[in-house]
């Protein structure tokens, strides 16, 4: 990992939960109260902005949230609204919005929030509120929504006159009123939806408006969903505010999405586009134990280990003796059976409890193997523990073995049994020692031969070793594949195995014709067992996964050994060619996606609490241009604008109308969600791509799009003529009823023509 250490550390952004408010919502001191001073309220689904229209900015901006908090001690229910909901953790977590999507569903909350607003604005009430009011409503809002507003404003708050208007049109009005451009397009990216409204000669053409049911809230939720799927085991749960923070601060609209996606996950691009988020956490430090305590613990462990080892040794010994006896007996049987007719062999074996010859072979093979292993182990241990001198002493102790039982006393018989046991183990040890020496000798010979070969003909040696290595690696791969396939019940391998099992379990004997053909039992050419690999068949992976793992481990050791030799002698074989280096996080798309352009240390508590934002940064804002990414079967902003400009208002794709050309020069972005960086540039790119080259384009966004709407209201109120045209008086409401709509240039129009 030496080449990783040179990499500079990445910048880490800590994303904390929203801090609690320290100050409660202020009460506005209005001084001399004037009941003719109009009030504007932009009742958004994210924030409420409210204030007197003769000011340039709203007096109050607070989240559209309300908490009913039950104080059990004083047995009272308190209501917290707006910024006051953020004074306390519990109050904040219980806060709710009156909106369900873009539609108001809880009018009791609205009533409370409105009352709270008037209260904080310092309104002097007199059987209701007496100021004129300007309030927003959604584009093409439901009639029931307007009815409820009428009811609340005229009946509950007893307002004398109210003007309704569409928030995005207020923003457009605020931004373009001074200019002489009368045609344009408003793209309103709000919290709950995205609207596109064409404007011709200062009149909104509501019949041609389009709404995409995707807003900032959806984007934040989408981000939270994809991050939870990306890090399913993330140790802490993030609040919606933290996701919101990430969305606002790290997401941006890509200028060219498909092109940027192509090389986003390459190392050098990630270097500056990958964002590391760390969530605050409390580090747990392991309490340090005193040295004495550690010592005591170690000693205790050692003692227990020793005892257990001894017990295990005892047991092993007993088993070994038993196995040796068995082996001797059956080898004897085998020798006797050589040359006997088939039938006799079978009956002898079946009497001994075997199914057939194959079963016997298998049994013997396994026995032999385990015996060898046990002896080897035994010898190892013995070498470790004892000197050879002990063995000689033992020799003298086996004096009772050759004396028949009848000549011995009871105690001696017991002693004899013990001696027999000890002798057996001693013999086994001797045997193992010999075996070991023999193997060591063989190995030494092979090593010398290998060395000679290397020294005389390096190239052929390298070639041979490389071939061996490749074969080993391939075998390992196949094994891993086999294991994976076995896990999957539907895979071909697993199905074949099931088929075999089913065949074996079949009760009916094979047909006569088959019986006379060579079968596994009587095939003279059957060489099964001659090759060590053949016995792998019995190492069924599904039944004995440990053995399989062991096998893999052994193979891996072999590979490493070979690689070690090649590293030493083959000048073309470098550290990077080894199996371990084959998996390099640099080449792993998944690693780069999940962990960014640095290696990952899963033990580091900081890294455990980190998220990496890369593709998400552009994926989330892209939904406005391709709503299908987020599951909305709708066209995106660009496509809707294209249709509007090139096919409507007298335009044909080949010949754009004057109106359409003017509209392209005056595109305004409003709404809180339009603050996503680079959105303006992207819209410019999109317009450029569908307009004839050289067409002048103007796309604008104001500095604080979320306040524009309220400012538009305040500006609107300065124009007395306009205001009077739009105002609905209580008298009119009482006369025309809740279906009444007063059409004006910034408001909704009638539902029907």
């Amino acid at each position: 990992m030496s080449r990783d250490s040179s990499l500079p550390l990445l910048k880490i952004y800590t994303v904390e939960d929203l801090p609690l408010n320290t100050d409660p919502e202020p009460f506005i001191d209005v001084g001399e109260y004037d009941i003719n001073r109009p009030i504007a309220i932009d009742f958004g689904s994210y924030n409420v902005r409210a204030g007197y229209t003769d000011l340039s900015d709203p007096n109050l901006v607070f989240p559209t949230r309300l908490t009913r908090h039950r104080d059990r001690k004083v047995a009272k229910t308190f209501t917290f609204i707006g910024n006051n909901t953020r004074l306390d953790q519990t109050v904040r977590s219980q806060s709710k919005t009156p909106f369900d999507g873009s539609i108001i569903t809880n009018w009791d909350y609205v009533e409370d929030i409105m009352e709270y607003t008037f209260h904080h604005l310092g309104v002097k009430p007199n059987n209701g509120v007496q100021n004129p009011l300007i309030i927003n409503e959604r584009l093409a809002c439901l009639q029931s929504q307007r009815q409820n507003w009428y009811q609340i404003l005229f009946e509950t708050f007893n307002l004398p006159k109210v003007a309704f208007g569409i928030d995005s049109l207020f923003s457009f009005y605020y931004n373009t009123q001074a200019s002489n451009k009368s045609n344009g397009v408003v793209i309103n990216c709000s919290h709950e939806e995205t609207d596109i409204i064409p404007i011709v000669e200062s009149q909104p053409i509501l019949g041609e408006c389009k709404r995409i049911n995707w807003g900032g809230r959806h984007s934040v939720e989408f981000l939270s969903d994809i991050l939870t799927l990306k890090y399913p085991y993330f140790p802490s749960k993030l609040s919606s505010f933290q996701y919101e923070y990430m969305y606002h601060n790290f997401c941006y609209t890509s200028s060219n999405y498909s092109k940027e996606l192509e090389n986003l996950l390459s190392l050098d691009v990630l270097e500056d586009k990958n964002i590391v988020i760390e969530v605050p956490f409390t580090e747990i430090l392991q309490p340090k134990k005193s040295e004495e305590e550690l010592k005591r613990q170690a000693e205790k462990r050692k003692e227990t280990g020793k005892r257990l080892q001894e017990q295990a040794k005892q047991r092993r010994m007993e088993r070994l003796v038993q196995k040796t006896e068995e082996y001797e007996y059956f080898s004897h049987v085998r020798e006797q059976l050589i040359g006997q007719p088939k039938k006799t062999v079978l009956s002898v074996l079946q009497n001994a409890g075997f199914d057939d010859e194959a079963d016997f072979k298998k049994y013997m093979y396994n026995l032999e193997k385990s015996l060898k292993r046990a002896q080897l182990l035994e010898a190892d241990e013995h070498d470790d523990n004892n000197n050879d001198g002990d063995d000689d002493n033992n020799q003298n102790k086996f004096d009772l073995i050759d004396i028949p039982d009848s000549e011995l006393t009871e105690d001696q018989i017991k002693e004899k049994r013990k001696q027999r046991f000890l002798k057996a183990s001693y013999d086994a040890r001797q045997k193992a020692k010999e075996e070991k020496a023999r193997i060591a000798k063989l190995e030494e010979e092979a090593r010398i031969k290998d060395q000679e070969w290397r020294e005389t003909n390096l190239n052929s040696w390298i070639k041979d070793k490389r071939n061996k290595l490749n074969a080993l690696i391939k075998k390992r791969k196949d094994k891993l594949k086999l294991r994976d396939e076995m896990k999957d019940r539907k895979s071909q391998v697993a199905q074949k195995r099931m088929q075999n099992l089913a065949n074996l379990a079949e009760d009916s004997p094979r047909s006569k014709r088959n019986r006379h053909q060579a079968s596994i039992d009587n095939d003279p050419n059957d060489t099964f067992g001659a090759n060590d690999e053949d016995w792998d068949v019995y190492n069924d992976i599904t039944q004995n996964p440990e053995a399989f793992d062991e096998l893999l481990e052994e193979e891996y050791k072999e590979i490493v050994e070979l690689e070690g030799k090649l590293l030493e002698y083959d000048p073309n074989f470098t550290e990077e060619d080894t199996l371990d280096a084959q998996y390099d996080w640099r080449n792993s798309v998944y690693h780069l996606f999940l962990r960014g352009p640095r290696p990952h240390d899963s033990e580091d508590p900081h890294q455990q609490h980190q998220m990496h934002l890369n593709v998400e940064r552009i994926r989330v804002p892209e939904i406005l241009f391709e709503p299908t990414i987020g599951g909305q079967d709708q066209a995106g902003i660009a496509e809707l604008c294209e249709t509007m400009v090139t096919k409507k208002f007298g335009s044909k794709p080949s010949q754009l109308s004057e109106t359409a050309l003017q509209m392209c020069k005056n595109v305004w972005l409003t709404g809180g969600n339009s603050q996503i960086p680079n959105l303006r540039q992207r819209i410019v790119n999109e317009f450029t791509s569908f307009l004839p080259s050289g067409t002048p384009i103007g796309v604008y966004i104001s500095k604080n799009p979320s306040l524009d709407s309220w400012r538009g209201m305040s500006k609107f109120a300065q124009d007395e003529k306009l205001l009077n045209e739009a105002m609905i008086t209580r008298k009119e409401y009482e006369e025309y009823g809740p279906d009444y709509i007063k059409e004006h240039k910034l408001g909704n129009c009638k539902y029907f023509e």
Binding site: F78, E616, A635
Partner: protein, 146 residues
């Protein structure tokens, strides 16, 4: 701040916001009337109500047209429904459900789109049952049991 002091502070804030009852901001007449028991309908319900209302009005105008020659037939101009953006005319691009990169391949078992064989091996193939639906839900392609 201790929890008791905190509570006391919250109480003081709440008390400062309490408005007398009957509220001076509201019409006396309205408050004397028995408080309306509003039913809070969900947004979906409200939208379908609107649909019913519009359809009802249209039907009424059609039947009226049949009886009276002079009456003009109603044409919807701007409603919640007809400003809804239409589906895209362009072929949808395919993106990897896991990473968001291009996703040219589709898993035969669970319809997850994926970027390359590595993503398939690491994520799509060993995916726990149910997780695939979570991924598909992102682009609205999950199964919805009704």
């Amino acid at each position: 701040m201790s929890s008791e002091a905190r509570l006391e502070y919250l109480r003081s804030i709440a008390t400062a916001n309490v408005i007398d009852s009957p509220s001076p901001y509201k019409s006396q007449k309205h408050q004397i009337k028995k408080k309306v028991n509003r039913r809070n309908k969900a947004a979906r319900q409200l939208i379908s109500d609107e649909q019913k209302r519009i359809n009802g009005l249209l039907e009424a105008s059609v039947s009226e047209e049949n009886t009276q020659e002079t009456c003009k037939r109603l044409v919807p101009k701007v409603t919640y429904f007809n400003i809804n953006a239409p589906p895209s005319m362009k072929p949808p691009k395919k993106y990897c459900d896991i990473t968001g990169l291009n996703g040219p391949y589709t898993s035969p078992t669970n319809n997850i789109r994926y970027h390359n064989s590595e993503i398939y091996q690491l994520i799509v193939k060993p995916m726990a049952p149910g997780t695939d639906q979570e991924y598909l839900k992102l682009r609205g392609a999950n199964f919805v049991l009704k």
